[in-house]
């Protein structure tokens, strides 16, 4: 049985469907990339899975409908990393990462009191994995964009949830940090987590993901293995681009090359 199962999920907001008739299964240890042009519904879908938006259809985790799992328990099962990277107060990096343990805190002083050794362990290993341990005393407003992205990822990893949802975690990063973060997500999957990641970089998607879901206007254009999804036709259909698809060390790389006329929804049908 898949860990996460979406059946006919639709998100309807402001009089139109942002995501429509979408089905997806993600198993344990899988890294699934969510790709598609701006406005395709990637973030919407990931928010619906994180129960941040109302949706129709069913989203099940371990066979249980996600919307019926109590919020606190759900927060331990599912870590969500949003696209918005602002941190409101100049909280220290260590305190920020520790927020990932909020769903585990008991008692009245949840989230602010002493943490268990288990919490400490989770926080430290998340910080070491993302290479932010040396930044732990820094205030979050003194971090560079790349550092902040890694700190926020550490916060999400500290939840130690079996399902990790990351919305464009590499958007603000330089090439080296992009690779590092993707390798980190890869490692999380190797260790048994199910990871869904929204990406714009098609080469990263091709290199690191087990499977891809290509969206366009809220609908699935293609879903499955990297080779199947990242074809020239699919890219033209979804993004309206002509791409150079090459191969290096047995893996394909994609270079967006030219703008093609966009194929409208009507023509596709």
């Amino acid at each position: 049985m898949s860990r996460l199962e979406l059946v006919e999920v639709a998100v309807h907001l402001g009089g139109r469907f942002l995501v429509e008739a979408l089905s997806l299964q993600v198993g344990a240890g899988e890294l699934v990339g969510l790709i598609g042009p701006n406005g395709a519904g990637k973030s919407t879908l990931i928010k619906a899975i994180a129960q941040l938006l109302p949706y129709r259809g069913s989203i099940r985790l371990h066979g249980d409908p996600l919307d019926q799992i109590p919020a606190r328990e759900r927060a331990r099962q599912l870590a969500y990393l949003s696209q918005d990277d602002r941190v409101q107060w100049p909280i220290s990096v260590a305190d920020l990462v520790a927020l990932g343990r909020h769903p585990y805190r008991g008692g009245w002083w949840r989230g602010a009191g002493r943490s268990s050794t288990e919490d400490q362990h989770a926080i430290e290993s998340a910080m070491r994995a993302t290479d932010v341990w040396s930044l732990r005393a820094r205030a979050s407003d003194t971090l560079s964009g790349g550092e902040r992205a890694r700190v926020r990822l550490a916060r999400a990893l500290a939840v130690e949830a079996p399902l990790l949802l990351a919305d464009e975690p590499v958007a603000a990063l330089d090439p080296r940090h992009q690779l590092e973060v993707m390798e980190l997500l890869r490692t999380q999957a190797h260790q048994g987590a199910s990871v869904i990641v929204v990406l714009h970089d098609l080469t990263l998607a091709s290199r690191f993901c087990d499977r891809l879901l290509l969206l366009h206007e809220g609908r699935t254009v293609a879903s499955g293995t990297v080779e199947r999804v990242l074809s020239a036709d699919h890219l033209r259909l979804a993004y309206g681009i002509g791409a150079v698809i090459g191969e290096h060390q047995g893996q394909s790389y994609i270079i967006p090359w030219s703008c093609e006329s966009l194929v409208s929804k009507a023509e596709r049908c």
Partner: protein, 325 residues
Amino acid sequence: MLNLFLLLTLALLSLLSLGFGEAPLSAGEVIAGLLGIGPETHQVIVREIRLPRVVLAWLVGLSLGASGAALQGLLRNPLAEPGLLGISASASLGAVLTLYFGLALVNPWILPAAAMFCALLATLVLQALTRAGSNNLTLILAGVALSSLAGALTSLALNLAPNPSDAQDIVLWLLGSISDRSFDDIWLCLPFVLLGLTLLLWCAPSLDALALGEAEASSLGIDLGRLRTLIILGSALSVGSTVAVTGAIGFVGLVVPHLLRRFVGFRPGPLLPASALGGAVLVLAADIALRLPETGREPMLGVVTALIGAPFFLALVLRSRRDLL
């Protein structure tokens, strides 16, 4: 550590305030008076004349400090304070209306009751306006609208006041004061203040996660709708009921969280109890300061807190602008 320091300061200032006045008492005499030993006159002065003022300063400060910290954390906005949501303004309006219609003279309980009623009404309106698909921006905008409306109606009452002495009463009440209050006033607002503070403190631990934004905070299991309701209600109860007894006292809710934020590592959760204590310290200190000059007429507390608060606020704005450059 910080809370302990604030508590100690609060205790010292309380002793100072109890000893201060036309008949100066030493710390020993104050404590003896409080415990009910020593000369009868000292007991009366300390327990019946000066203690209500001190207790009221605590209640006002605790309410304003806690609400300010809670609202700034909830709205992720360093400018948020109880006045922003229109709760103070609505409570003021309720009180002003009883003064305008002369009802305050009929029964001393009518004024605070009307103020609390209006604060509650404002809370219900806020809740209704922000219930459906609400977010924090809606809450702020609704609060600003409510605040302006209550302010305009208060001005209208002043404008149409039938005779100058009514207008004078209204103005004096609007300035905010904790002098000449009795334990009757305290019993009136105490239950609501305690209930409000309990709600706010209950919310404190959830505020930290809001630093990550509303979406990630919900993904950590925080029910934002419930948090919003509890904080609005807690602020309305505590601030509304103290405004009902003391009149409007501004800037404390805005300033105190900023003063203390750095000492709690900028975390909104631990800031809340510290800010409550800090609010009490500030109000008590301001109340002692305004009695220092021997001019015969003491300035009103609301005026003094604004005099301290406004320059501080300007300095804060200037500093944050420099940070951006």
